[in-house]
């Protein structure tokens, strides 16, 4: 099939950037979206142009590297699907496809479709862990975990750290991402001792990075490729309030 691609091109962080239009005449419907981008880049190299930079690695929907806003939607039109797992059979012959980077205050563009998501890293460093040193763990089955909680914790832990939730949100909020991590540990007995510090530190770092507040639009859940539930935001709020209150009481 034939496609017209309108792609955001930006040389580097300080460049203003803008859209460029490209034609692809022979796109295989079985190809993945990123394979289509590979074909475009081969064509650009052939024409002595600069290929489009984009993040990707696993191409299996699990590493969270791929990003891109496709026709206005982070990771494109398919529910619960990363860009690398999106296939061209979901587009129409002759269609114009607009491709932009994930945009947010806290995700500056580095080049073309590549953004800097290290703000996420710093949030995790602020408290996204259980403080257990190597070698000091008790026997695993001494910590039984109720299956329902274990499954819920797993659902939250599936977050791939891609940032689509932020890109989808008009406030550029990271509440879904932070809520997922806080929930995983709040649901497991292992996470309880540091529960309060964790949520306070992570939220403080989130605010410092310039992510916006949550106004309950639900756009994050709708665009999240792992379908992380907004229930995790509610749990984050509860955890935060109870931690705040108990700190004030002390």
């Amino acid at each position: 099939m034939k496609l017209t691609l309108k792609i955001w091109r930006q040389k580097n962080k300080s460049d203003k950037g803008g859209f460029e239009t490209y034609q692809l005449n022979n796109v295989d419907t079985h190809a993945s979206f990123l394979e289509m981008m590979d074909v475009l880049n081969e064509q650009l190299i052939e024409e002595n142009k600069i290929p489009v930079a984009f993040d990707h690695d696993c191409r299996e929907g699990i590493c969270g590297a791929c990003s891109m806003v496709i026709n206005g939607r982070p990771h494109g039109p398919l529910k619960g699907t990363t860009t690398c797992q999106l296939h061209m059979r979901h587009f129409n012959d002759g269609e114009t496809v607009t491709i932009e980077p994930f945009r947010a205050n806290a995700f500056p563009v580095l080049k073309d479709l590549v953004v800097d998501r290290t703000s996420f890293e710093r949030i995790q460093q602020a408290g996204g862990y259980i403080s257990i040193g190597t070698g000091s763990a008790p026997e695993a089955n001494n910590i039984p975990v109720n299956k329902v909680d274990a499954d819920k914790a797993f659902d939250a832990a599936q977050c791939i750290g891609c940032g689509a939730c932020v890109a989808a949100c008009k406030n550029g909020s990271a509440m879904l991402f932070v809520g997922a991590k806080v929930s995983q540990y709040a649901l497991l007995p292992q996470g309880h001792p540091e529960r309060m510090e964790r949520v306070l530190n992570m939220v403080a770092q989130m605010d410092e990075e310039g992510f916006g507040g949550c106004t309950n639009t639900g756009a994050c859940e709708a665009e999240c490729p792992k379908e992380i539930s907004v229930a995790n935001i509610m749990r984050l709020n509860r955890e935060y309030i109870s931690a705040k209150l108990s700190v004030e009481r002390e």
Partner: protein, 638 residues
């Protein structure tokens, strides 16, 4: 040169505990004076960096992705082995050890493998304490499943995302050390050279992938945890960025390369579907627990699977290997699929696929049970192929998946270059000629959490008086100069063909002639063809843009240049090993019924290759494998 594996003396099951109680230690005050560089943030690298940071060493850790959490370990699906024997089904440390040695077709070291089996139990404890959400039973206790090549249930899993959950656990431990300022993390940085001074590893040269800046970093020890090199085949199940550059550069600076030709071809991957294909997708081996593999009994059968009656189907694994059936080890399952397709009985448009059928399992257990076991895998298959495996059998074909070969290391995980270590998939050590499913995650975490933190002290205790390593030495000057020269040379070719063009070409030669079946004629041809590809690459590659910016084409070019050289060595290694073992199948050496024919008298050794200079063939060194506990037999899964 004699290779000393430094396996401690004493009975097999006492070696590690005795070693630990006698190994030299570095006291806490001195640890602060010691710098360690870790390259890689996969299971092996992240666990090592976090543990070394906790011990008090000053650690710098690097990865090429934009986050440590995106290392390729994240993609592992099926599970991780541990000899916990929670099922009371007869598992033990010895059995895990024995299965691994046997599964590896007797080409790994007893001492290393036994240690791996011993520490496997600690890994599960560690991960659970970190909050890794493993699958559980209604009792609240941990669940297990079985995996190919063994007869016990010892595999722990987190739905189909075990690697993700384990890596996020190691990543969280790493983040904690970053916050404590014990570890400094560099993302989007690629190591492009090692620095060796007076025979010892003293640092690395890295390229900042965003700015193109070339940087020097010094340390008292360098740990490479850079993963496998399966992308030498272009198409593999590895992530796009997986590469050999770090270990290849180390090899060219003196580190021996062990068993480079030992490659694992995984039997259950989604078949190739087009010219533009960029990678292959694995369907977890756990599917073989319930899926039945079959093709038609007759050649060129183009009927739909539903239209082929039961009696005209050949469930060839169940037929040939009645006791293991669909659960034979990977090398055997892969070769059997290739045989069926070569025999003209392959399915699908290309005829290069076999069926993996869940109809019987769905009938027996119900759709819900099957969906709770494999739901996300079925969904992934549907997304990629547009077909629903609940309704029609999956089509699968083998694909390159894992490299057992890698840098030669001794019992301490140190290469033959003092101060340079290799852990995880990038070393050669534990899996012999074939790795069992769910054992790579186990090895990566064993190395990083429980082995290296001990063994590295043995060397570093001799470094406490060295003082800070400086980056303005002649060795650093020289290393940086080489890096700049290589990049300048690549940028100045200004040829006509893209990097991928050469990578695909190399991949095709490797797959056709150094893939699932190999022979002397093909390998000899391959060596010549690769030499030609190398000449063409260096005279006609085209890299747009400049070296001082984010430039993915330049990143790929640096990696492919190394893959080309490695490919040649793999073919040489495969050519010299005149036997079949595990994943290395030489068609000249097979039993009358087509199984791998080992030659223990001549080849029960590790082939470790020494770099001898540009355009010189590498020199082979042999580390004889000594088996004290297991008796070498012809592997049988019948």
């Amino acid at each position: 040169m004699a290779l000393d594996s430094k396996i401690p003396s004493g009975p097999l099951d006492k070696k590690w505990s005795q070693y630990k109680s006698s190994v030299k230690l570095v006291n806490p005050a001195n640890k602060k004076k010691i710098d360690i560089i870790v390259i890689g943030t996969g299971l092996a690298g992240a666990s090592a960096a976090a543990s070394l940071g906790e011990l008090g060493y000053k650690v710098k850790v690097f990865c090429f992705q934009d986050s440590a959490r995106r290392a390729h370990s994240i993609a592992a699906q099926g599970g991780i082995n541990a000899a916990k024997n929670y099922r009371n089904d007869g598992d033990s440390v010895y059995r895990l050890f024995y299965d691994t040695i046997k599964g590896g077709d007797y080409r790994s070291r007893e001492g290393n493998v036994h240690r791996l089996a011993e520490v496997s139990v600690n890994i599960i404890d560690q991960c659970v304490a970190q909050g890794v959400p493993f699958a559980r039973e209604y009792s609240g206790l941990l669940d297990n499943r079985s995996f190919g090549g063994v007869q016990v249930s010892r595999t722990f899993y987190a739905r189909g995302q075990t690697g993700q959950q384990l890596l996020l656990g190691a990543y969280s431990a790493l983040n904690r050390q970053v916050k404590e300022k014990a570890v400094e993390l560099f993302t989007r940085h690629e190591m492009v050279e090692v620095v060796i001074e007076n025979g010892k590893a003293r640092g690395v040269i890295v390229r900042d992938l965003v700015t193109g800046e070339i940087q020097r970093h010094a340390a008292h020890a360098v740990v490479l945890a850079t993963g496998g090199y399966g992308n030498v085949f272009f198409l593999s199940t590895n992530a796009m960025g997986c590469n050999t550059t770090a270990i290849w550069k180390a090899h060219k600076k003196g580190a021996f390369f062990g068993n480079p030709c030992f490659t694992q071809i995984h039997p259950t991957c989604i078949p190739v579907h087009g010219e533009y294909q960029s990678k292959l997708t694995l369907m977890s081996e756990s599917l073989r627990n319930d899926g039945r593999v079959w093709v038609s009994k007759s050649k060129g059968d183009k009927r739909k699977p539903q239209d082929i009656p039961e009696e005209e189907r050949d469930y060839y694994l169940e037929r040939k290997y009645p006791s293991f059936g669909n659960l034979v080890p990977r090398d055997i399952a892969s070769r059997a699929a290739k045989e069926a397709c070569d025999d003209g009985r392959g399915v699908g448009e290309s005829g290069m696929a076999v069926y993996l059928d869940f109809a019987d399992a769905i009938k027996k257990y119900g759709k819900d049970t099957i969906s709770s076991r494999y739901g996300n895998l079925f969904e992934m298959y549907d997304k990629i192929t547009g077909e629903d495996p609940y309704k029609t059998p999956m089509m699968i074909y083998p694909a390159v998946h894992y490299t057992m070969g890698g840098l030669w290391v001794d019992y301490n995980l140190m290469t033959n270059v003092p101060g340079m270590y290799a852990t995880g998939e990038c070393n050669f050590s534990d899996h012999g000629a074939n790795r069992l499913g769910a054992s790579a995650l186990m090895q990566g975490l064993a190395d990083g959490y429980f082995v290296l933190p001990y063994t590295i002290g043995d060397y570093l205790s001799g470094e406490i008086l060295t003082g800070k390593i400086k980056t303005d030495s002649a060795a650093f000057d020289e290393a940086e100069k080489n890096v700049r020269a290589q990049i300048d040379k690549l940028m100045s070719v200004k040829g006509t063909k893209s990097v991928d063009f050469y990578h695909r070409k190399l991949g095709k030669v490797m797959w056709d002639k150094c893939g699932m079946a190999r022979n002397a004629k093909g390998l000899t041809e391959a060596i010549e063809e690769i030499k030609k590809i190398r000449t063409e690459f260096w005279s006609d590659v085209k890299i747009p843009g400049t070296a001082n910016e984010l430039n993915p084409e330049l990143e790929k070019a640096i990696r492919v240049a190394d893959f080309i050289e490695l490919g040649e060595l793999m073919c040489r290694d495969a050519l010299h090993r005149e036997e079949s073992c595990g994943g290395h199948f030489r068609s000249e050496f097979q039993t009358p019924d087509g199984e791998a024919l080992r030659n223990d008298d001549q080849f029960a050794y590790v082939g470790a290759w020494e770099y001898k200079g540009e355009n010189q063939p590498q020199e082979l060194h042999k580390e004889e494998l000594v088996f004290e506990s297991v008796h070498l037999t012809q592997r049988s899964y019948k």
